[in-house]
Symmetry: C2
Subunit: 381 residues, 2 copies
């Protein structure tokens, strides 16, 4: 009766855990930035200034592809901060956040195709690809990111159209993709004729990480997805795509179908780029989140919960509870702690994994949360 | 190589005409509201107040389905103003404007299905349906709106899944759908088992018009799409859907795929509903646009351009130029006037039709524009 998308869409497990998390005292579930780190005053000033200066012009319909002023600011001021080397053939378009960018790219590329993703991967963005694919091939992650050897073994057997990769502060795995593997991915994409979607929302708060995969892209194989959700605020819904003109221009036409990107919010972000607010926050946010992550790691270690990767940046730590994580979750919720059971992030395995986030809890709460987690694990059969 | 959507998407003729319109002195092409009527100061205050009161909460990720506060305001304060009788089974969700709502509904319902639309219809919203349909059946419009007799003749022969209707201040035809036909449509939908998408962005500025089709819907056949783009400003990108819970709840899950609706903009609109700004503008805007429309009609009549429908409200008048409208358009552009050649709005016919808009031009410019139009028609072979 309805489309495949209409039939197969389900409430995201992250959304579900977030809803349950609302009742919990301590929240290690959220994927949102730390509310204390949202620059409310600066954003308020930017709205006020934009409306003073541009008046009704800031409230017209948005154009497909984004407001020229923001596109220019991104290319001039932001891409260099992200270490992104844009080629002459590349263009930038604005989207309503990175999730919307993924939806546009899924819509553009896919119609029951074969794709590959990291195992685990971020279920919410990935959904926009999965629901339009016939087969999704999982490629394991280790401490250096996606296993390129395993990927090539797959590529020798199966033709894929897209590879989806989160190169920095991986959600949920916390790892960064090593530089040599970034170069390898580009070579593989050319050799086996597929495109790479590089989803990089954490880069502005990632500290010192290798250049984007896109920067090594000699073959126009990489499409880069950026976001202002972590460095500013998710509620603005502003992100962007950088990639080869032939592809990205077509993707921008698909924006005509939803015209969802607020015009005024684009001007607000352009202003915060121009006046240096965004640049000035990058290092501080990296350090802030690193401190919180260290507290989480130390607390887990103290409690004997030691089966985790070592996150270098970002919001998430992936912990092996060695017990069914949904059962532990039930126990934890009853004790006032929420986290995200991570099996939905995995295409294979992951039943005992938990995604722990450091954003909503303060330092004391992180410690207390780990105590509850330990109890919950111990009380799970 | 890419999806059907990726292959078939093209730059919208309205967008194209708008781009050409930028060089023209007089703009009778635009679909945007009159810039002078955008309440910049009130919107600026609303941003400031929302950020003062809610602070970072107004900048979190949006939830699929929309912020509770806005949904409640729409149901309590706005739907009554729109004369929309919501049934117990109906729910409301927020979207990033009406265009986004159409994209979500197209995504939910369609996969190479058969649909019917008014002839002419609004090409931009319609595109989200067309690119997912196998067959689109045009049903002619007269001065009372869609011809329900013609529709039933079609329904006797072909099964359709959806009918797309713009009931008030039709874009581009300018007409309002008569009340008895509204009731008929609901009966036909039930009898022939299809759904009606009622796209009603102009209602808040439409003056006295019959109740929405949705209000006559005893069978859960109508999905209503509303917008704040005409009554406030298009750049906020806030609209909504009202319809049966079983359908609309699923549609709201599809919002997880793009998460494109700005959180803060939702709070801004909620505030402008709550403080009465929206209600206070409705009658004034209707009268303002009616005055401008009268000037357009009188000017056309004076110049002997008399082959048009009689728009009761909204922004558009559909004029038969009796000559190829693209050729007249070329002539007009060279003389400093832009309008939209209307053939792309038609599934059959329309080659000599022009869509004239009253929003961007002031009264003098409307008169001058009609002079140029007359010259352009006379100089077209």
């Amino acid at each position: 009766m309805v489309s495949r998308l209409g039939k197969e869409i389900e409430i995201s497990p992250v959304e579900l855990a977030s809803q349950l998390a609302k009742t919990a005292k301590i929240n290690l579930a959220s994927g949102s930035p730390d509310p204390k780190m949202i620059p409310v005053k600066e954003i308020q000033n930017a709205y006020s200034e934009v409306l003073d200066e541009l008046k009704e012009k800031s409230l017209f319909y948005p154009g497909a592809g984004g407001q020229k002023e923001l596109v220019e600011e991104i290319e001039k001021d932001y891409l260099p901060l992200l270490n992104l080397d844009k080629s002459q053939e590349d263009i930038t378009i604005v989207t309503s956040g990175a999730q919307h960018a993924m939806e546009l790219l899924g819509k553009y590329f896919l119609e029951n195709d074969v794709i590959a993703v990291e195992n685990p991967t971020f279920i919410e963005t990935f959904n926009a690809l999965k629901l339009r694919s016939s087969v999704v091939l999982p490629v394991d992650i280790d401490n250096q990111g996606i296993n390129t050897k395993e990927l090539e073994e797959i590529l020798k057997i199966v033709k894929i159209k897209l590879l989806y990769v989160i190169p920095n502060c991986h959600n949920p795995a916390g790892v960064n993709l090593e530089e040599s593997r970034r170069k390898e991915l580009v070579e593989l994409a050319e050799k086996y004729n597929f495109y790479i979607l590089e989803d990089d929302p954490y880069r502005p708060i990632a500290g010192c990480v290798p250049k984007p995969i896109k920067s090594f892209d000699k073959f126009d194989r990489v499409i880069y997805i950026g976001s202002f959700s972590k460095i500013l605020a998710p509620g603005l819904r502003i992100g962007f795509i950088v990639g080869n003109k032939k592809i990205v221009e077509k993707v921008s036409l698909l924006e005509q179908l939803d015209f969802s990107t607020s015009t005024i919010n684009q001007y607000v972000v352009a202003r915060l780029l121009k006046n240096g607010i965004i640049k000035s926050r990058m290092q501080g946010l990296y350090e802030y989140y690193s401190r919180k992550m260290k507290i989480l790691k130390d607390s887990l270690y103290d409690k004997g919960l030691r089966e985790f990767n070592d996150p270098k940046c970002g919001f998430f730590l992936l912990l092996d509870l060695k017990k069914d994580s949904w059962k532990v979750f039930q126990n934890a919720i009853s004790r006032g702690l929420s986290f995200v059971p991570a099996s939905p992030f995995f295409l294979r395995g992951g039943e005992t994994m938990a995604r722990l986030s450091i954003t909503m809890a303060n330092e004391e709460e992180i410690k207390e949360g780990v105590n509850i987690l330990k109890e919950s694990v111990d009380h799970t059969i």
